[in-house]
């Protein structure tokens, strides 16, 4: 039956593009003498939240299907191991950061021993499974909350970097740029080409990122000069432009797919890192740098908009295009600046996103809806609102996994979007004007 379903899934592939992927981890649990171990619970978790579990069969096999590609923590529930067996090393019941690419089933091996694990160690703090005293549960809940909050801020600040440009483009030209997600993917993949690809120059990631951001800014400006500006000159309506951007998004995304392939890949640098730990929160240095750098860049953009001449001009054009033009501001110059900025920021966001997860051909498209949610939450066309909106989206997506299945984390962000539209369509920071 399952085989039939799988076969049909393959037959259906042309319908579903290349999105029809499922990924899993599997393995066979064996005692040191090679006999299979049955009835042991294996748990897969992401960001501290359980995403699936399985119990080993009579022949020791187990398999857990996972909600998406990414890094997972796979744990053997020590309490369910037979008394004679224990993990071969201290802490060997947990494998952290197991990367699972899209569409693949990854084999995971746990080594067991009949002796004592390792000096000083033992299966002491595993397998509690929520059965501890209530006080412990509250503490553990707070720990998990703190950890996910940090993850949420990281995710939110990446969304913000990508979405600020989307919002500014909308504010200055009225275009809802559906191809913005592809700018993000482009950033991640160009950096991959420069950094990790065998055909590229294999630059270190930091110079590769700088080159990518320069490329992204130029690419954004070229799009404006070569496509959007001529189309606006032809007097093509806003909704037509929106549909054209959908076509552009399909085009760029699938060109990237042909060049990059469907397989998600990591960068060459900073992928394997020891996590730092402060109290309940642990974070890889890479992720900390991403978060801090994103927030600094966002602060820089804010300062630029507030203090510099170019920034003030952008705000003036966003507020009232005609008034700005009649006050002597060169509107098409300002719009070009916005595209330069948006291209650079989106590609930078793409590199960060690829570093935090993996580089894949449709990462930007997957992020696009969250960017839209952030932009609408913050108020369409605002620059500061979108930053708050992004953080809300990121934190909602991550923290929801405490109570709710991790597969739905992005869905909750979108639900928040629809709810906000119901009660406050102009967004949290939008001005109360008629949008209907």
């Amino acid at each position: 039956m399952l085989a039939l379903a799988l076969m049909l899934g393959v037959l259906l592939a042309p319908w579903s593009a290349a999105d029809a992927q499922s990924q899993s981890v599997h393995g066979t649990l064996r005692a040191p003498d090679g006999t299979p171990v049955a009835d042991v619970t294996i748990i897969a978790a992401r960001n501290g939240a359980e995403v699936g579990k399985d119990t080993t069969a009579k022949d020791g096999t187990w398999e857990i299907s996972l909600p998406g590609p990414g890094r997972y923590t796979i744990t053997v529930d020590v309490a369910t191991l037979p008394d004679a067996l224990s993990p071969a090393r201290e802490g060997g019941q947990t494998l952290k950061d197991v990367p699972v690419p899209a569409g693949e089933s990854r084999a995971v091996i746990f080594q067991l021993t009949t002796g004592t694990p390792a000096p000083g160690g033992g299966p002491a703090d595993a397998g509690e499974g929520g059965g501890g005293p209530p006080q412990d549960r509250v503490v553990r809940w707070l720990d998990q909350f703190a950890q996910l909050l940090v993850e949420g801020i990281k995710f939110g600040s990446i969304i913000a970097i990508c979405a600020v440009g989307l919002s500014l483009i909308f504010a200055t030209t009225g275009l809802i740029n559906f191809a913005h997600g592809e700018m993000v993917t482009l950033g991640a993949t160009v950096a991959f080409l420069l950094n990790a690809s065998v055909v590229g120059p294999q630059l270190q990631l930091i110079p590769a990122t700088l080159a990518t951001v320069a490329f992204g800014a130029i690419f954004g400006a070229l799009l404006e000069l070569g496509l959007w500006k001529p189309l606006r000159r032809r007097g093509i309506g806003r909704i037509q432009l929106f549909i054209i951007s959908i076509g552009l998004s399909l085009l760029i995304r699938h060109i990237i797919l042909v060049l990059f392939g469907t397989r998600p890949q990591p960068y060459a640098d900073y992928t394997i890192q020891q996590e730092w730990r402060w109290g309940p929160v642990s974070i890889a240095p890479r992720d900390l740098v991403i978060t801090v750098a994103s927030l600094l860049v966002l602060a820089g953009v804010g300062l630029m908009l507030q203090r510099t001449r170019a920034g003030k001009a952008i705000r003036a054009v966003s507020d009232n295009r005609d008034l700005a033009e009649s006050s002597g501001i060169d509107v098409s110059r300002v719009v070009l600046n916005v595209w330069l900025l948006a291209g650079g920021l989106a590609t930078l966001g793409g590199v960060f996103f690829g570093l935090a997860q993996l580089v894949s051909w449709d990462m930007g498209f997957k992020l696009l809806l969250l960017m839209f949610a952030a932009v609408i939450l913050g108020g369409l066309g605002t620059a500061y609102g979108v930053i708050v909106g992004s953080l809300v989206v990121g934190i909602v997506a991550q923290v929801s996994t405490i109570w709710l299945p991790v597969e739905l984390q992005n869905a909750w962000a979108l639900v928040v979007l629809i709810l906000v539209l119901l009660v406050r369509p102009q967004g949290i920071f939008g001005r109360t004007e008629r949008v209907g």
Partner: protein
Amino acid sequence: MDFLTILGDASRAAIGPEAAIYALAAIGLNMHFGYTGLLNFGQVGFMLVGAYGVAVAVATFSAPLWAGMLIGTALAIVLALLLGIPTLRLRADYLAITTIAAGEILRYVYRSNFASPVTGGVYGLTRFADPLYALSPIPPGQYGLGRLSFSDRSLWIMVISWSVVALACALMFLIIHSPWGRVIRSVREDEDAARSLGKNVFGYRLQSLVLGGVLGAAGGMLLAVYTQAVQPDAYNPVVTFYLYTLLILGGAGRILGPVIGSVIFWFILVFTDSFLRQAVGTGLIPAGLISATEVGALRFALVGIGLMLLMIYRPQGILGDRREMMLGDR
């Protein structure tokens, strides 16, 4: 290079069940976008609830097929109301983003692990339409000439789905030429004018959303029945983009626009696909340049270019009227 094969493949796709199913879903979209001016980018969500309405009712709860179809229709109506009530008062682009978000939320929910006892999770459900195939009066076998031939099952589904398309076109003709249809088009042309005549613009838009959504769900049901399988990832946003492309190609705001658009769209899509595969296979295009698996991706890129060029140079498509497609700011 065998052009007869390529032409055969392309013609088969142009009159096959997929073309009919896409035409039906696009007729619903035509109601929204072509006649009412609603930017519904979540038509695939309606197809999904229709398809899963049938599949879940029959495969999970072993209800009869007709009950599944009723459930699918009811779900589409509920979805249209849920989407429409918050967003139809807002500017058109809000509806676009909300509908595409709603389609994705539905896909996430249907593919999730916790829903899998009901929906089958990422693998979906299979083999729930046997009673319909049992009704088929066509004796088993292959019908047609050479490459342009269909199995009895495909033929049976083609008969059903093209009949439904014909019915839907007739229904649309009657509706659009009724007083209701005139109000709908006046809402598209000038919302304020319609309002000043005392028409409840919001109400009319909501009715249009429901009607087109039900047609979309019907397309989803036929797709589920035809493939005897539902799988959540088949209902991704790209399907809606396909529908827009073929609708605009045929001519939005015309009764036969989606039908002609769907036939031509599938012909071109499969023609290029088959041509590229043959070209790679016979070495006309060196295999190092594009592999056979990448041809599938290239055709999506082609749809993207097609959509851009159509929107720039001929937004009214083959049948449409340019004046009706001056989609301005609202």
